[in-house]
Symmetry: C2
Subunit: 203 residues, 2 copies
Amino acid sequence: MTETMYGANTPRAEATRARLVEAAIAAFAEKGFHGTTTRDIAAAAGMSPAALYVHHRSKEDLLYLISRAGHERTLTLVRNAIAVGGTPVEKLRLVVYDFAVHHANRHTESRIVNYELAALSPDHRTDIRGIRQQIEAEVRGLVESGVASGDFDSADPRMAAVALLSLGIDLGRWYREEGAWKPEDIGERYADMALRIVGAQQV
Amino acid sequence: MTETMYGANTPRAEATRARLVEAAIAAFAEKGFHGTTTRDIAAAAGMSPAALYVHHRSKEDLLYLISRAGHERTLTLVRNAIAVGGTPVEKLRLVVYDFAVHHANRHTESRIVNYELAALSPDHRTDIRGIRQQIEAEVRGLVESGVASGDFDSADPRMAAVALLSLGIDLGRWYREEGAWKPEDIGERYADMALRIVGAQQV
């Protein structure tokens, strides 16, 4: 990712870049990628547009950075949950719980990560699609292995995997901190629903 | 809704308004509400910005029109499915099937309807939220009645209803015509999954 970023690698430059990323997340979430100007982002970070260009070539560069970090975090989360869990039931419960809690906690960032893919440059989009395919493959593989071992009963593991991911991703749209449900409540319920969706034996 | 629209009620004026709505859907879907100008919409409809104002006061007015029509269509679809179905199982199967097929077929419009609510004026947002609450209440009521009759086994009908709606809504994000699944394939599978989510007896 270093080739997409300018500027020195001093702690101060790091802090500035982090501030720009936070400002970009807030601006994209409020007005969408196309409705946001680099001027908006710079102003929110308390910088001049020229100062922004020292750190990022363009707002698309910022979007890519946010998108890539978000997708990599999710892929790691999914892989960790599968590695830690024991049986297919335990693994799926953990994946769906962690995925839901993550999307509720980071719902603002999640909207940008999931709904602004079309705004990425073709190369960046291909790159992000690759990570998304890996996330889907992990979840699909888990459902398939559960079917193979007789722990799950699913006629279409691929579509089941898409549905399981949809539940978590859509939290970015509807979850709000002021609502009655905590991320962990949703995680628990969604894990129960996920086991039902794949036809897990003990549910 | 008439007070939000200008212009004569001649067939020609109707056709022009329909063309503007189509142009607005395409523009909002591509660039988001905030990234779209009234000039973009007018140009896509082959009109001058001044001609647009004869029919719509603002682009927010167009967004509201699209959003309101989309939500009313969905509410009608949900109510019809519940009215037509017999048992809770049949009703739920029909609601989820129709809801999924609708969101896949109209995925472009669905993205605007579901992801641009924050761009509506406060009054319009309140109005649309009212319709959304009715849609949710219909689905939640159906799950609750199935639990009451012993047809379903759901620990949290409210969250189950939210999850069922999420599956359909998220189709607006990921469904593409060129994919392997037809809307009807997804509708069938999602109806099966929905019955599992609510713990329907015969699944």
